[in-house]
Every structure is written in C-alpha cells, then in structure tokens.
C-alpha cells in the first residue's frame, strides 16, 4: 500500500513541475502533499501528517495561488520546449541509478540496536515535543518572527507610497 502512495507522491510532484499552467502546478503540489500526509499517518506519525495537510497542502498552496494571481497579468514565462522531454529522459535514468544504488546497499548497511534508551521511553508525542525538543520551539518562534519581519521589510515601500498618497 505504501508503495502506491509513494508512487503517487512522486508522480504528482513530477506533474507539478511539468505542468505549463502555474495554478495547476500549485494544485498538483497540494495533492502530492496529501499523499505524503496519508503516508505519514500510515507510518505512525499522525501529527506530522496533520501539519502536512493543514500547512503544506493548505497554507502553502494558498500562498502560492495568491502570488500567482497577484503576478498573473504579465508574469507568464514560457519554459523551454524540450524541458519536459529532457525531464522524462533524465528521470528514467535517475530512477535506474537510484534503484541500483539502493540495491547495492541492501545487505551492506549495518544493523543497529533499536533506539537509544534515552528516547525509547518517550512515546508520548506532546512530551517529546515540549520536553525533549523545547529549544526547537524557541527556534520556531524565532523563525516565525524572522519571516514576519522580512515580509514586513519587503512590503514597507507600499506603506510609504500609501502614506504619500
């Protein structure tokens, strides 16, 4: 079952870059995200799946579509015609290389003891996130601040113009 989800993920990602219409690309990306989210559920990572659906498939797609609409008037750029053919060609070659490399690894990878004792007990997600990875939360706050201020800095010229008007 997982293998189909993975294939779907890769197919939709490939579609996202081969589509000529940007809106369709963005939507393909969203669909790929949903595949990934389902995969996360199946792998026992429900919270990551929820985030993937709500933020990546939701928020990011919305952001993309907003930008596309804002820049639509003259923003159409024609990609090179051969790009898609080249993509197919290289992609097939890459898949073959990938397959052989991974096959070469089978049996050569070391077997390791399961988990370190420190973490094996932490099966409660909220405990892990809040107690084990607290610093990351601080980092998240920093990152959000950074993103917000960057966006503010980039759009401050508007305000100036508006004030002048």
């Amino acid at each position: 079952m997982n293998i189909f989800l993975l294939c779907g993920l890769v197919c939709f990602s490939a579609l996202a870059i081969t589509m000529h219409n940007l809106l369709k690309s963005a939507i393909c990306l969203g669909v790929a995200s949903i595949f990934l989210a389902v995969l996360f559920f199946r792998m026992g990572a429900p919270y990551a799946g929820v985030f993937e659906v709500s933020i990546v498939a939701g928020l990011i797609t919305v952001l993309f579509i907003t930008t596309i609409v804002l820049t639509k008037r003259e923003g159409g750029v024609k990609e090179r015609k051969l790009t898609n053919i080249f993509f197919l060609l290289f992609f097939i070659i890459f898949i073959m290389i990938d397959f052989f490399v991974m096959k070469g690894f089978i049996g050569n990878l070391p077997n390791m003891p399961v988990g370190s004792p420190n973490l094996a007990e932490n099966n409660n997600f909220s405990k892990v996130l809040w107690q084990y990875r607290t610093l990351d939360l601080v980092g998240q706050i920093c990152a959000i601040f950074a993103g917000v201020f960057s966006v503010l800095a980039l759009f401050r010229a508007d305000k100036k113009e508006n004030n002048n008007e």
Partner: protein, 500 residues
C-alpha cells in the same frame, strides 16, 4: 563542568528576540531615537554579558545550563565552552559596532525599527547556533539567521538587492535541505541528535560510507553558508547588495558562525577529523584562497572586491583547520576572530565612503584621504591587517597557519598560502591607491568626514585590529587556547562530556 541552575545562557537568545518583538510597537511611538537607544543598549549588554560569562568559563571550564519553567522540566540545554565563547564574543563585538554604525547610516533607508528587529533576530539566531548542542537545533537557528538575512539583503528594495537576495535564498534553501537530509541519515544511524550521543553512535556503528556521505552533505550545506568555492557564488552578489552594516555583519560573522563554526564543530568534535575530511577541507580552502583573491583583483566595485576577499580569507580559516594540528586550529580560530574584526571594519568604511560620495566604484574615487582622514586611516589599518602585515592582527593568524602547514609538512600548501597573501596585498593596495590616495577628484571637494557614530564604530574596530595585533599572546592565551583545546581533543572531548 559547571551546571548552571538558571537562565544565564538563555538570555543570549531570548533578549534580542524579545527586544525585536517589541521593536515594532516602539517604532509606532518613536520612529528613530528610541529604537536606536534600545538596540544599542541590547547589543552592548550582550557584549558585556558575554565577557562576564566568558570570564567564568575561562576559570571554570565548560558551562551547561538546563532550563526549567513553571516547575516543568524543559530540555533547553545550552552549552558554552571555549569555542562557543570565542564565537559569542566575536558576534557581540561586531554586532555592537554594527548597531553603533547603523544609528547614522540607516537614516535614509527609513523604517529603522523594522531593520533593527531583523538585525536582532539574526543575532539571536547566531547566538542560538553557537550555544546549541544538537544537530537539528544548529539547523533551526541557522535558518533563523538566514531568513533574517534574506530580508536584510533585500532591504534596499532596488533591483540588484532583490536579485541578490533571491539567488541567495534559492541557493541557501538547497543547502539547508541537504543539511537536513544529512541529519536524517545521521538519525537513522545513531538514533539521536545531540552531539555527544551522535559522536558515540557514529563510532559504535560501522557505517563508514554513510557517515562519509553525511559529511559530504554537511560540507556542501555549511560550505555554501561559509562560501567555500565552488559553493560561493551567492556571496559576491549578496554581500555588496546589503546595506553596509549588514554586509559587515554577513561577511564578518554570519558566514563564520553558520558555515565555519558548524563545520568545525561537527567535523572536529562529532565526526572526528579523518584523513579524507582533512584533505578535502584543505583543498577547498586552497581553491577558495586563490579563486577569491584572483577575482578580487579585477573588481571595480569596492564592496564586491571585499566580498571576494572574504571568500579568500575563509579559505585561510579552512586550510588552517584542515591541518588538524593544534597550531593550525589555533591559527584558523584566530583568523576567524581577526577576519571578523577587519572585514567588518572595511565594509563599514565602504559604507561611509558610499554615503559620502554616492559611489562604490574605485575608478571614480580618488584623493579622499584629504576629505576623510579618519576613514582613510582606519581603512589603511584594516587593509594592512587583512594583507597580513605586522604588527596588525591579520599577520599573526596567517603566520600561525603557515607555521602549522610547515609543521604538518604541507610545504606546497604553505608556499601557496603565502602567495595568496601576496595577491591579497596587491588588491588592497589597489583600494588604498584608488580610493584614498591618487589625484584628488574635483567632484569630491565638498565631501565630509563620516558622522560621529559611524566614525566611532570604525575607530573601535581599527583600535581592536591594533590591540589584538600587539597583545596577541594575551588574546591567544585567554580566548583561543581554551577553544583550541576543545577542538584539538577531537571526539574525546564529547566522550568526557558524558563521563565516558
């Protein structure tokens, strides 16, 4: 090892973050004066505090702090050892001078509050990166500093600024993607992310090629942040496009913290410097020295020339670290400190010139020494330092690196390193001649010396160049030897850390 009970180290991350958060609110009340004062107080406090904390570290060794909040145990473990302290002090010095410089310089950009909050977040990110003890935290704080820097590079909102920022963003995003990929493979191998457990895990697991692959990924990811050739292409676009204080911050500190610090910490303390890693580091360093220096010669834009020179100097740091000998590491670390001081000085000076004359092109300048004597003097000091002329600070670090290269019997590297420094001297002489000496141009008759706070910042840095150069035995003894000890002990440092 001391275990702090309180928030001692957490202040380094939280204080700039909080000040950045309240800055827009204050910006509504007072547009200029209050943000100026608040930011400068913050950076000054951080500088003073880092020295106070540093004093304790120097006397009592490594400092770890665990943070608890409302009785709940929180895992915010921050560690300050000799190496982190060195970086922390470097960040604080440069950021203090940069904020001082910004008081006058950022007048015409407007929206100072927004600028200051981005700058403070960048500082918070770098402090967090230096203090964290965990691979993923390093990535998180690296991204924080990077996102703030994208905004700052594009702060001028001109075409070139946007272009530079966009390319920088797109290359950095790929790099940090590879870093996380490396982290995930490391996690798959060892099941942990903290330095000490990863170090032990890697040595227990017999996965040579996977670890080598991760090392390559990290080298590419962090090497791009550090602007090692061939991952350097964003730097000569991004650094000149940013406002001068930000260029100083990026070239002086950011590339070293998010690139060099991370690589050194991970490769020396976590992975252990194997022969392969050492060779790759040294060759990358050598290529960077030459590519950076040779391209810098042909530049006409002063800031672009300085940016290429940063690439070249980063090469020296890596060639020193790559030797793996204590003296080489000492030289590399010393060069980090020195390069932070003189390169930020030079970038600030370029800002002063740009503000006074409105141009960055070396052709058009000329004879500014009469009009701007202070800037000319400080610039000369910076240039001599970067070219490695005694008794300025740059000489000693380069000398240590070259001695280390000879000691480890890399004679060819030693010769080439010296050649590189001759080329460096060459283009700094070009700057000096074109900008300050030479025939005075008629148009610059009315040019005035830089405003007070700007000169103040450059003078502080120029004095530092001389003071570090003259008292370098003291600097080495207090700041660099503890850092070198930690790095030179390699992986065993982390073993001891856990009590193995």
């Amino acid at each position: 090892m001391t275990n702090g009970e309180g928030e001692l180290l957490f202040v380094f991350i939280v204080l700039p973050l909080v000040v950045a958060g309240i800055m827009p609110l204050i910006g509504k009340l007072s547009k200029k004066v209050v943000p100026d004062i608040l930011t400068n107080l913050t950076t000054f406090f951080l500088l003073a505090y880092s020295i106070i904390v540093g004093k304790q570290i120097i006397f009592s060794g490594i400092y770890t702090t665990k943070f608890s909040w409302f009785g709940e145990p929180m895992n915010i473990s921050l560690t300050l050892d000799g190496f982190s302290l060195l970086m922390l002090v470097t960040i604080s010095i440069v950021s203090f001078c940069v904020t001082l410089f910004s008081i006058d310089y950022m007048e015409h950009y407007g929206h100072k509050a927004n600028y200051y909050s981005l700058l403070l977040i960048m500082i918070a990110g770098m402090n967090g990166l230096v203090l964290s003890t965990d691979l993923f935290s390093i990535y998180v704080f690296l991204e924080v500093a990077a996102i703030a820097s994208y905004g700052l590079v594009a702060y001028g909102l001109g075409h070139n600024e946007l272009e530079a920022s966009f390319k920088y963003l797109m290359l950095s995003a790929v790099a940090s993607g590879f870093i996380v990929l490396g982290i995930s493979i490391i996690f798959a191998c060892t099941g942990s992310l903290t330095f000490s457990e990863v170090a032990i895990g890697i040595h227990l697991v017999n996965a040579k090629y996977l670890v080598g692959f991760c090392a390559a990924l990290f080298l590419m990811g962090f090497g791009l942040k550090a602007a090692l050739v061939p991952f350097h292409a964003w730097l000569p676009d991004a650094h000149p496009s940013a406002p001068a204080p930000i260029s100083a911050m990026l070239s002086g500190v950011l590339i070293k913290v998010s690139g060099a610090y991370a690589i050194i910490r991970i490769f020396l303390n976590v992975f252990g410097l194997t022969y392969a890693l050492s060779t790759v580091l040294m060759y990358l360093g050598l290529i960077s020295i030459f590519v950076g220096a040779i391209i810098a010669i042909g530049q006409n834009d002063m800031k672009r020339m300085l940016a290429y020179s940063s690439i070249s100097q980063i090469g020296y740091i890596f060639i020193g670290i790559g030797t793996g000998s204590p003296l080489g590491i000492l030289g590399g670390l010393f060069h980090i400190l020195n390069h932070a001081v003189f390169k930020s000085l030079l970038f600030l000076n370029s800002g002063a010139i740009e503000q006074a004359t409105g141009t960055r092109e070396l052709d058009k300048m000329g004879g500014l020494a009469k009009q701007m004597p202070l800037t000319a003097t400080t610039n000369a000091i910076g240039s001599l330092s970067v070219a490695g002329i005694p008794p300025f600070n740059g000489f000693w670090s380069k000398l240590l690196i070259i001695i280390a290269l000879v000691q480890t019997q890399h004679y060819a590297f030693a010769v080439l390193a010296v050649l590189g420094s001759v080329i460096t001297l060459w283009y700094y002489l070009i700057i000096q001649r074109n900008a300050f000496f030479g025939k005075p141009e008629e148009i610059w008759k009315n040019v005035k010396e830089a405003p007070f706070w700007m000169s103040c910042a450059t003078v502080i840095l120029a004095l530092l160049c001389i003071v570090i150069g003259v008292t370098f035995p003291f600097v080495i003894k207090t700041f660099l030897v503890p850092a070198t000890d930690i790095l030179a002990s390699g992986v065993s440092y982390l073993y001891n850390f856990l009590g193995y």
